[in-house]
Symmetry: C2
Subunit: 471 residues, 2 copies
């Protein structure tokens, strides 16, 4: 007997499948103001775990958290020419406060480079104050014309790192360190997401940066999504805000800076990377709930047993939820946990108890089998490790199988519009070819070196452009 | 030899002492937009530890974190009459977004009861969905005419809890639970702050609440500061937003609600409650740095020893910072750690090494003494416990010694203007007396029952009003 699908199948309509999943797994709702979102507890729980894992890596990298104001004087934005050009069309502007029209309107931060530099200029005096390594967890606002929940929202949550260094090399190395040891490490090892590390072309760089490093993920439909980015800002903001330090040999020098960010978009990426037609699949290392223990029927012995299993597994260091809501039909609860992508379900009914077993259902590879109750705690860590590895492998295999090497712009457009990525030598494509791709809504996601590493320069010999349609 | 004071002494000018301390201990700077603040890493570190301790207590109380949008349609605010009257004068209004004038202006949230109810009305269907227990960590904006950093800022950080219940009793009990087991427990046991638990009078209630529970702290100058508040909202917002549920017996009923909040103001309270003329004193259970180990001189053996002590104490579960920045004069570093209020300093110089000792300096009770190096790890846990207890005791003794029982409005005003709190029977004071106090900038901080508990009603027999000047 075929189940009626709970979600629109991905093959029928991928964007609708995404929206269905977000709603039915109770990840988020659209907000009342266009482009905003309400992150529901289950969706926010994913973000909280992301925050905890990222925050630990950021602190290990030597940065401290701080908080800068939401409101930025409009005049600050205009001090760095490229920056204002990039952000002006997306700004939300507060014109009234406390019942009066403001003398100078303030913008709601779209990012904080300008206001951060205003303070770095005060805090940095001498080379002894460098490097200055700051991170902020905050909300930002960028007015979106075509919003999509988690992926492009008018307000989103993120972390933004801001650092100042004495030399170009130190700034460059720190941006690369964050790119590799914070973002790529987190995405691969916690989110189980295959990501491609590369360098943005000049056309795709952050407004005000001299270099942008990116991580690009391939979604379930073959499109690309930009995940964390790390920027070398050079001395652009330092010159605009007079952020200077006294060097060891007694000269006033401008600092070299970086900024780097990652956002709630990662929740959307998780859905589009690992989701299937039954719902989300959450990597065990990320999951707030790694294992849910379900009582099948309203039976005192069953309820007692699921609670005891819950305690035993919690004691074994597994993140467990006990679902003993036997006043809700079992089938509805099972579908709900499947939608929410909890890696393992342990289902216990009266007949299982008689046999001393439980049904162990694996969401990630699929499949179910009875397992002896006293074997559960021993089996689960290995199962969770396997599932974590499987998700990463599946996402890597998807990218590899859907990436084509091409030699012309036409072939690149064809591969991208067919739902894949194309690799084309940058020496062949160039900025002119990049402009031609744009006519077909195809973009250069990043440049990679011939050996797969991140190139030092746009025009390094052997650079390959990876092109795709993108969210 | 008398030291030149680093801060304006409290007895000379308490508000200036506060501002000096905030600046010199590097807790925060004023932001460029009037009333906003930049929370610097050391100040933010205090807030992060507060968040972690509070968040654990909130989750133990069954609430889940979620996130609602920053922007609220202006029309939402007007649906609950008292609420809009309370907040309208403080709103920041966004009139332009994405380069265009908005059709309906949006307000930057001053609090989220309205937008939360818009979603609770969708999410709550039946009694099975109740209680619905949500918490949010966020920034909010209330335009301030007389801002003061941490205490009253146009933007501040907070947590706001929002819950919906099937019955009046369940909502009332939950508000009381948060008041006692989250807020009072955290403030007394982590912040080491004596707080008075009571009930707000009708004049001082949250706009839209039927009852507000409060915790009031006495600052170093005898003024009061309102810390966490918990509100019973009755069915006011439920009726305005049609937040209804299907009861067990099949009827549509309005939910009963609570909301409760605590803010970055607690950082200011920490300063004004525990600070002295040398700086801040951080309670050990809160401190991100409980012990700092300082190398006195640039000497290889000294630097090696302080690092080893750091590792040993970290292994013993103490939060340690090693300060081996011997290129900065020792005296400057010692004063800085004193300003920042780190509970214990361990100072190691070449002569100490010869003796196999270190100088142990206690910030909270004051005093220093040499201690054998191998005794440190064993001694510190008890020292930190003593210091934690001492701060709580000192704040309690301050309140007790500066609180006077009075029987007339005139005596109450006199006690409050002299820098203390007065207790006056509510039956004597009443709303008329409360209005007379206001003429002298004195307010009823809260009502307490004759036995010191929190009264069930404003007019319960034996209620005592505690009155004071307040921040």
């Amino acid at each position: 007997m075929a189940k009626a699908p709970v979600l629109t199948p991905r093959a029928v309509d991928f964007p609708r499948w995404y929206q269905d999943l977000i709603n039915k797994a109770e990840l988020a709702d659209n907000g009342p103001v266009r482009g905003t979102m309400v992150i529901r507890p289950y969706g926010y729980g994913l973000w909280e775990r992301m925050q905890a894992e990222m925050d630990a890596r950021i602190k290990e990298s030597g940065a401290s958290n701080a908080y800068f104001p939401l409101f930025i004087p409009q005049s600050y934005l205009t001090r760095e020419a490229e920056h204002v050009e990039g952000f002006a069309p997306e700004l939300a502007v507060v014109t009234h406060g406390g019942g009066k029209e403001l003398e100078e309107p303030v913008v709601v931060r779209p990012t904080s480079e300008t206001i951060v530099n205003d303070y770095f200029a005060k805090w940095v005096q001498s080379y002894r104050d460098l490097p200055l390594l700051i991170n902020q967890w905050a909300n930002v606002v960028r007015w979106e014309l075509r919003p999509r929940v988690f992926l492009r929202t008018t307000e989103f949550l993120w972390q933004e790192g801001h650092t100042a260094h004495a030399t170009y090399e130190d700034a460059r190395d720190y941006a690369a360190h964050i790119h590799r040891n914070v973002y790529a490490d987190f995405m691969e090892n916690v989110l189980a997401m295959d990501v491609l590390a590369g360098r943005k072309t000049a056309a795709e760089r952050f407004a005000g940066a001299i270099n942008t490093l990116t991580l690009e993920g391939m979604m379930g439909d073959g499109k690309a999504l930009q995940l964390g980015t790390s920027h070398e800002l050079g001395q652009n903001f330092a010159k605009a805000f007079h952020t200077q330090y006294l060097s060891k040999d007694g000269r006033q020098e401008y600092v070299w800076q970086t900024s780097w960010g990652s956002t709630t978009r990662m929740v959307g990426a998780l859905v589009m990377m690992h989701g299937d037609d039954d719902g989300l699949r959450v990597p065990p290392r990320l999951a707030q709930i790694q294992v849910v223990v379900l009582g099948v029927k309203d039976d005192a012995a069953v309820v007692a047993e699921v609670r005891e299993i819950g305690e035993r597994l919690t004691a074994a260091g597994i993140r467990v939820r006990v679902d003993d809501r036997t006043d809700i039909p079992f089938g509805r609860r099972a579908v709900d946990w499947e939608l929410k992508g909890v890696p393992v379900r342990i289902e216990v009914g009266p007949r299982d108890l008689e046999n001393g077993t439980a049904m162990l259902v694996r969401r990630i590879p699929g499949g179910k089998a009875p397992v002896a109750l006293d074997a559960l705690a021993g089996l689960l860590p290995q199962i969770l490790d396997e599932d974590q590895a499987l998700l990463l492998r599946q996402s890597r295999e998807r990218r590899e199988s859907r990436t084509t090497d091409v030699t012309t712009v036409e072939e690149a457009v064809e591969a991208a519009t067919a739902g894949g990525w194309a690799r084309i030598p940058w020496a062949v494509l160039g900025e002119e070819g990049e402009a031609r791709l744009a006519e077909h809504a195809v973009t250069v996601r990043c440049l990679v070196a011939a050996d797969g590493s991140v190139p030092d320069a746009d025009d390094a010999p052997g650079n390959v452009a990876v092109v795709a349609r993108a969210y």
